[in-house]
Symmetry: C2
Subunit: 613 residues, 2 copies
């Protein structure tokens, strides 16, 4: 097939692509992260690029000749420079559950010496090693893969009958994953990953000391093929679509492994385990499992549970003899990331009921204790991640993340990366809503008060009322940054969905928010939340502020715990079996709850006493 | 690299081979089975071919141009047309142990139907299938490989919630190997293989009925790289040597699978299991495991036991999701073929002691009962397979397999395939020895009586006495077929090795041959043995003839049993642990036994009362 050279400026990255490839795909391959959140449907308009002076949508442009493509900054998705405040989030807060867990890594290195064979004792090499290992750890059924036997005679001969076995304890015995010559017990590493729809976080761990070596976070490279799970599932049904999405996320994972191992000088061959948690769709896409059942009623995944698999089999760049482990999920809407989060916050071990609220691209909520758990997915949508709003963006450089609006409508901004503002991220919107409500720019139903006379309040060309946050002469895009009534409506629905889901879960088990001892706030957006503001707009229930606890990326923390403590994944399996999934759409009374929550903060002000006062 | 075209006549088969390839390798690739029993060392002279009228050794000829190579019939190894008498051997005699075993195939197909998911019950598809399977066979830990989940949504959707699970019961649960749409329980097949140094036997089995569909036998294609295990282990140490040997035996296996499935109209995708037994070296070479430890003192294999593996992983052409199972061995000299043979003859289940004597390329002997077993390898060498003798050949067409020598030295021949004779096979040699001893042509020490005046008795150009069996004008080669004193010495050592090994085992446990209830004779050469003659020359002990029982290819029979009865391989594992290996070379008194056996029949005639009379 004919190939063309495509060069992207200003990065200068270039690639050869077969005729007929679209420019988004070519850009991703070249390592240029073009935004295309509609999944290449030509709808979102975020992937604008310039070819020979003409502006086109990259997703709608097919390569038919050599090209030079100018990619404007606004079309590139770049991860935010991490601020000090978010470090805790990114590493995953170390919880009491983690501090209290047994430190027995998921893989061990066992150093053994044994006698050379003699004519009287010509037991084979493998059995000698197994016996020596059993002498150290007790008798069990120990097996190994054929690959480890192939060169065993040489390994044993060269190492003078002194080897290190890399051991994985299975449910009913142990598997020797590799046999290394000599004593290599000091070098055994693992990785923990959280694979979110929007971001991927990875962490390099030293299993010999139990310590975290380094952490990385990146945008999920699948974003170029769709910003949400539904678009990606549709994309996966194209020929090669599933493969493309799997490769995209494997690219993220392997890129992080390459960077972490490079920066911290760890030999990739010494990394023998990865533990991965992610939502149900992410797990299907990573493992190339047909996700179509997730999208169609009655929304059934192919499997909610994936057995450990040798890393080499799925293309993860650690020692190919190493293992990849996956957190099990409950159902389409309560995935392994939530189970990992439950493990991390310790909810399933506490007698008193607690809540886990994970606000990411969607909102997942689990209420329960050591006896029972009930989970629900709030169809909040990705508004809090900036998606679907007229000036929304992710929490990256250029995003307005905090505002103060004075009574005379002077707006003071805090922008991520201290750049010229480009748009508003989720926490910025919550701040804006709060301030606008307090000053009275918007009313409790979310309508903008047009009677206020100021150039900041106006109607756009479609007649929709809007409030100007940043005028165009102060923005990096040259356009006004505004919030309009459609945005407010959208945010109201999102916060209403989360609040009403919490309320529905409490109703279901006959509890009130006062019975809840702890409210764990997890997830990417969650960590930037201001509790006071969130209660003020009616996103979170109005209860004792000390009940709230931020636990950051609890999915990553759960994966890390599983890597550092081998009993965790077994616990996870019993936790998942203990979680009942509540389908809110089929729950009587839920719609009433939802509609009642479509006010700021709520139609029933009695539920928000501190806001009323 | 430059390639040349090589054409072999008279077969007409041709191949492209890179410059530098030797002609034996090229011939094997083209499917022309050139004999080269010395492993391409240029020593045996069996691989003579003609290029442009000039006779050369194929193993010593390097391809440097396009060639036309004439391969004379004498340089080709062709399997014998199977005679009716050997059919039992080839299929493996059906023993009492086999008749009595539980008929529960090693793999099952379980047909299940289940309800479609609903909003109230959105259990994932895999769990639905597992639950339905458990409803049929009882609760257990059921797992499956990722590959079966990938398209599960589609399989389940297309089949209207009715599928067939291919189930393998593991030690601690079960694994679903595949999920097929609809009800396919009627189609589930397996293969049993015996991999010998010289011959390979394969059998196609219908697991739904427990019946044998067809059997094939072929020469081990590795023979072209060496006739015995030592030459092959040396060859394996060359770069790519191990790979070449593994490919050769895989070619045998896959060729048989192709033929059996073609002839008997079985879809290869419906074959889900192979059970393989073979000696320790054959298992290492098949599985590409470094066999070097086997050849060097203290003769330790990398492993004597190989876990089941997915067929696709080792290149066996059945359904790649199917399983390959291997009979475990004890040590370098007592391999899985012997354990399979023990299982087949039932020795480990009997109270009274029995003997299993497997005479193939080497001789392996196990003495024991249900309480104890002791095994030894007789370094008999491959003389009984015709190797190393001046006119020796395998039991193929043209081999003298039976002789009658009258007192006036008239020799009546029986030749395999009723062709002009070409050489003498093992059973032919035993007949010849017997007759020569009876008439007095050879004395008890193996020397030819040169005082007998006949043109059949003479000295060759090196001064070695010989007896002409077939004069050159009656042979297909144009050379005399003779037996000389070197041959007799060689045969005497071989029979002495086997007899003295039996005696040493009996001594070791303080038993006499009269205590032995059954003597099972197994193996390729064994099936052609005449008991009376074998006792007469002192190969087998002189005991009640009714104790002897031919069990043919007991290794194949054991593999078949394991395929048809899932408990067998577990039994095999406990049997192997019950076998003590006796290293004869380190056994006091063994050398005396051996030296005493270097007479016809033995220095102690008291041990051979029926021969004395």
């Amino acid at each position: 097939m004919k190939e063309f050279r495509v060069r992207f400026t200003p990065s200068g990255k270039s690639i050869k692509a077969p005729a007929g490839t679209d420019l988004v795909t070519a850009a991703i391959k070249a390592g240029v992260m073009i935004a295309a959140s509609c999944g290449g449907e030509g709808l979102c308009g975020k992937c604008k690029v310039t070819i020979a002076g003409q502006e086109v949508l990259a997703c709608q442009t097919i390569i038919e000749s050599d090209l030079e493509v100018r990619v404007p900054k606004s079309s590139i998705e770049e991860p935010a420079l991490l601020s000090r405040e978010s470090e805790d989030f990114i590493k995953g807060v170390i919880s009491g559950a983690e501090l209290g867990m047994k430190r027995e890594p998921i893989l061990e290195k066992i150093h053994v010496k044994f006698n050379p064979p003699t004519a009287d004792d010509n037991t084979d090499y493998l059995e000698r090693i197994i016996k020596a290992v059993e002498d150290k750890i007790g008798r069990m059924r120990v097996s190994t893969k054929l690959g480890n036997i192939k060169h065993l005679s040489e390994v044993v001969g060269d190492s003078d009958f002194e080897v290190t076995a890399v051991l994985w304890r299975t449910d009913d015995g142990a598997e020797i994953l590799a046999v290394e010559p000599g004593d290599t017990t000091g070098k055994v590493f693992a990785l923990a990953f959280d694979i979110g729809t929007t971001t991927v976080a990875g962490q390099l761990l030293d299993l010999s000391t139990g310590s975290v070596i380094g952490t990385r976070i990146a945008f999920n490279a699948q974003s170029s093929y769709g910003s949400d799970v539904i678009t990606r599932i549709i994309y996966a049904s194209d020929p090669n679509g599933l493969l493309t999405l799997s490769r995209a996320i494997l690219g993220n994972i392997n890129g992080m492994i390459s960077e972490l191992s490079g920066v911290y000088d760890v030999n990739r061959a010494d990394i023998y385990a990865v533990v991965i948690s992610g939502n149900m769709t992410m797990m299907h896409l990573l493992l190339k499992v047909d996700p179509s059942g997730i999208r169609k009623a009655p929304y059934v995944p192919a499997s909610a549970h994936f057995d450990p698999i040798h890393a080499g089999e799925i293309g993860i760049d650690i020692n190919p003899k190493g293992m990849a482990f996956f957190f099990p999920g409950v159902s389409t809407y309560v995935g392994g990331d939530i189970i990992a989060g439950l493990i991390a916050c310790g909810l399933p071990y506490s007698e008193e009921p607690s809540l886990l609220i994970d606000i990411g691209t969607n909102g997942e909520i689990v209420l329960g204790n050591s006896e029972w758990m009930i989970g629900a997915a709030a169809s909040a949508g990705p508004a809090f991640e900036g998606s679907g709003l007229s000036c929304g963006m992710k929490a990256v450089n250029g995003a307005v993340q905090k505002v103060e609006i004075s009574k005379d409508l002077f707006v003071k901004l805090s922008v991520i990366g201290r750049e010229k503002p480009k748009g508003i991220c989720g926490s910025g919107y919550i701040d804006i809503l709060c301030q606008m409500l307090k000053i009275g720019i918007i009313k409790k139903d979310g309508k903008i008060d047009l009677s206020i006379k100021t150039p900041r309040i106006r109607k756009d060309k479609f007649g929709v009322a809007e409030f100007v946050i940043v005028p165009k002469n102060e923005t990096s895009t040259g356009n006004d940054i505004v919030i309009n009534e459609d945005d407010i409506e959208n945010l109201k629905r999102s916060k209403g969905a989360i609040y009403s889901a919490i309320a529905a879960l409490l109703n279901k088990v006959g509890k009130s928010i006062k019975d809840v001892k702890k409210i764990y706030i997890a997830g990417g957006f969650g960590s930037y939340l201001n509790i006071e503001n969130s209660i003020f707009i009616g996103l979170l229930p109005d209860t004792d502020r000390s009940a709230y606890e931020f636990i950051g990326n609890s999915s990553l923390a759960g994966s890390r715990m599983a890597a550092l403590s081998r009993g965790i994944l077994k616990k996870a399996d019993s936790v998942r079996k203990n979680v009942t999934y509540l389908d809110l759409s089929g729950e009587p009374g839920y719609m009433d709850e939802y509609v009642a929550a479509l006010f700021f903060p709520h139609t029933d002000l009695g539920r928000f006493p501190s806001v009323r006062s």
